[in-house]
Symmetry: C2
Subunit: 476 residues, 2 copies
């Protein structure tokens, strides 16, 4: 018997709608408008963030048995230890403090068609660890604890659009990781929903086109990490219309072709997936949680937990004092990295199609070990006193590359709710023939279209790579 029930139609061409919104680049005045709004929000919420010794943290304490640093309620997050061993690399075994926060957070973009163009409701959000204090953030950025509070009535603004299917339609929805060196198995739901309702206005929120957000992305410390990862998950169609002209027009034409599934790629998708499987199997990452007081090589003082050689990061206490009554003040631990990070994506034209060089990189906090990282991801200061062979591949190249190869260059902040001034230089470099097409074992050239296919699923691109993909999409 054949039942005659309607099957799902392919919806309107969603990628084309995102591309159109991205092509709506602001003129100077519009970008200035968003910047002025962010500046206004910074003035409205004056904050002071001061380091305090651990014993001045309210409701946070070290567990007498394990030494783990946690909140008395058991909520929020805990700083525990991790013992990692890998079969490779300059350092093959180490202990480290790490943030345990097993719950899944929500990073959500609420979008709406305004004057025929998709707009995203972006938030000006203060976080204690942010450089610039207030950065451009997703509509909703909530931990599960936040979401629960909502059900008791005092809530996260706009969350209802993400939980009630009657209010908005889901366009994008996947779980993605955070920093595998600092977080143990942290995942967030990256979700984009579209509404047709009238959404109440609020001073902290503003409708922006994707193009306007991309313009702000070029500025230092302006678009936060949570917004960048959701941006990276948006599907884009190859832009139509006139070919690019002006500066870097050949690069931009290859970039546009890279978004097109009909163009070629160095590897088939099957080869890419097999390479990823192989890298996961080859890199044996053995990571297990240990009590913080068993972590070796780290020293705890009343003010900080730090590596005995001063490398990597410290865990510190912070007191946030708010100038306005609305937000209140609080204390919390923060992870404070030492030195500025360097996060670089090498790209090159292969057969007229731009390819990005991704690195299959094991990190202790990823439950599956390996994710795809940018070509270079490190804190260069950590290698200052180490021999040449300990230096990450392509680091020397990136540090010495002439400026005319640089297509994107901005300092971005990582998550300001957990990290204090965790800043990295994010750069996209057109390597042209400097870097051969033939790859070594842990590196592969992928097209942007292939990256987009991976981004529909969890676990492929790490958060730094996602940030750089968002940056690359600002360059069409």
């Amino acid at each position: 018997m054949i039942t005659d029930l309607p099957l799902a139609a392919n919806g309107p061409a969603l990628p084309a709608r995102f591309t159109e919104s991205a092509s709506a680049r602001p003129n100077g005045a519009t970008a200035g408008g968003a910047l002025a709004w962010l500046a206004d929000r910074r003035r409205a919420y004056t904050f002071e963030v001061a380091r305090v010794p651990f014993d001045r943290l309210d409701d946070w304490a070290f567990d007498p048995e394990t030494g783990d640093l946690g909140h008395r309620s058991g909520r929020f997050f805990t700083i525990g230890g991790l013992r990692v061993s890998t079969g490779e690399g300059w350092v093959r075994q180490w202990d480290q403090p790490i943030i345990h926060q097993p719950e899944i957070g929500v990073l959500g973009f609420l979008v709406k068609e305004i004057d025929g163009l998709l707009h995203v409701l972006m938030q000006a959000k203060m976080e204690p660890g942010n450089a610039n204090v207030v950065q451009l953030s997703p509509t909703v950025q909530a931990t599960r604890s936040n979401q629960r509070r909502v059900h008791r009535g005092s809530g996260v603004r706009h969350l209802e659009y993400f939980t009630d299917p009657q209010r908005a339609r889901v366009l994008v929805d996947s779980l993605q990781s955070e920093q595998g060196s600092w977080f143990l198995g942290k995942r967030n739901r990256n979700i984009v929903v579209e509404t047709t309702e009238d959404v109440p206005e609020h001073d902290d929120y503003r409708w922006l086109t994707i193009g306007e957000i991309q313009e702000l992305l070029r500025l230092d410390d302006t678009v936060n990490m949570d917004a960048r990862t959701v941006l990276a998950c948006l599907p884009f169609a190859r832009p139509t219309g006139a070919p690019p002209t002006g500066a870097h027009s050949t690069f931009r034409a290859a970039l546009r072709r890279s978004m097109d599934p009909g163009e070629g790629s160095r590897h088939t998708m099957g080869e890419v997936l097999s390479w990823f499987t192989d890298a996961t199997v080859r890199h044996e990452v053995n990571a297990r949680p240990v009590p913080l007081n068993e972590v070796k090589g780290w020293v705890r003082t009343p003010e900080a937990i730090s590596h005995e050689e001063g490398r990597y990061f410290s865990v510190v206490g912070a007191r946030v004092t708010a100038g306005s009554r609305e937000v209140g003040s609080w204390t919390q631990p923060l992870l404070a990295p030492h030195g500025m990070g360097l996060t670089a994506l090498l790209v090159r034209n292969i057969g007229g199609v731009l390819h990005v060089l991704l690195h299959a990189r094991p990190e202790g906090g990823h439950p599956h070990g390996v994710e795809l990282a940018p070509t270079v991801q490190c804190t260069p200061d950590n290698y200052l006193e180490w021999p040449k062979e300990a230096r990450p591949r392509f680091l020397d190249y990136v540090e010495r590359v002439p400026g005319d190869r640089v297509r994107f260059d901005a300092v971005q902040s990582e998550e300001g709710g957990r990290f204090q001034w965790a800043r990295s230089r994010y750069t996209v470099i057109d390597a042209e023939d400097d870097v051969p097409v033939a790859e070594s074992e842990d590196y592969r050239w992928l097209t942007l279209h292939q990256v987009g296919r991976l981004l529909r699923h969890s676990r492929y691109l790490n958060v730094q790579a996602r940030s750089l993909i968002a940056c690359l999409h600002s360059l069409w």
Copy 2:
């Protein structure tokens, strides 16, 4: 600058080649030939498997501190404890023994074109827990420890085709899970490689078409779990040629359309992925390893570790005595389930396209909590004394469905290297209008083509669902 380097061509239509091999169904003689060969191998390797008390296991012992049961070398696997809590279900918190085997194994099919048809080199392999002792297995079925031994020279036969890219080309390659109720985070690389070399013959190996393997799959306890999961990962194109005739021709026509991406589906792929993300977020599975001697509700005697109500499974000791010198004899623990499992896939025709009803099911041993299970997956005996509301959905329907709705029905064994007589009835039922198209929260109707797309990635379909997909593919 445009460099003019060749891009990857789409290879020959691999799915069509697998479909062609599957369409090469054996006549009675051929199926008989493979069966006679399996029977011959059973005679060649006579084995006796006897239960022994734990203190008679050579080199296996309970750790004095944790109570975990492990091998003195630290290799193979360990039986430890797991403490699981979920926010739902009849039983919301429990402890259980579980197998810890963190290494990634290889399940490999070596394929070769013979007389214009793809053939798979299948192995007649003995495993101590197998019903039928010897079952049809992949070419290679190796733990990482096995693989390492190879590098020291005494090895797993044919492994070189899977490790040396010069010897064979990778066709399929993904990591897939094992039983989330019995294994903690176990994954295997499911890999298919094609060679053009002459492969030396061996009595334990035989080239079979996919159709011949599928024919054997209809028999009880004949094709092992490891072979079934690799079979499920093969990509198939919609069969061409004359439409099916004879029994169930409407069902079979809908099944063929279900393999075609050009036919409709109840949900878009985006909706399927969003539903899976949502289910992962909704089902809070909190599972953490605990020492085996802290596991509550289980009793250890000299002969077995069992649940105090006799449910679920026992851990026992086994001594394997081989009749031939080649294999030797050994002892090991086995997990022995209580009662026959029931693993059922409901399918139905929606708009002329067959859809399968998958269940987003949390299991404690899956590192991400939820995977997609068959419509029903349980051991009915476990529910005998429990109230009606504790029974799994659709269990009553499956137990009472008239025989003319059953399209596939065979008893299959789970992995015989770890489980003793772990047998389940695997059944595919055409539910027609008995089950509505409208789904509840944790169930979705998917087409076979959509299932195939998910199977290119880790973590979507659990091992029972993969087995049933392999069975369904035998019904075109």
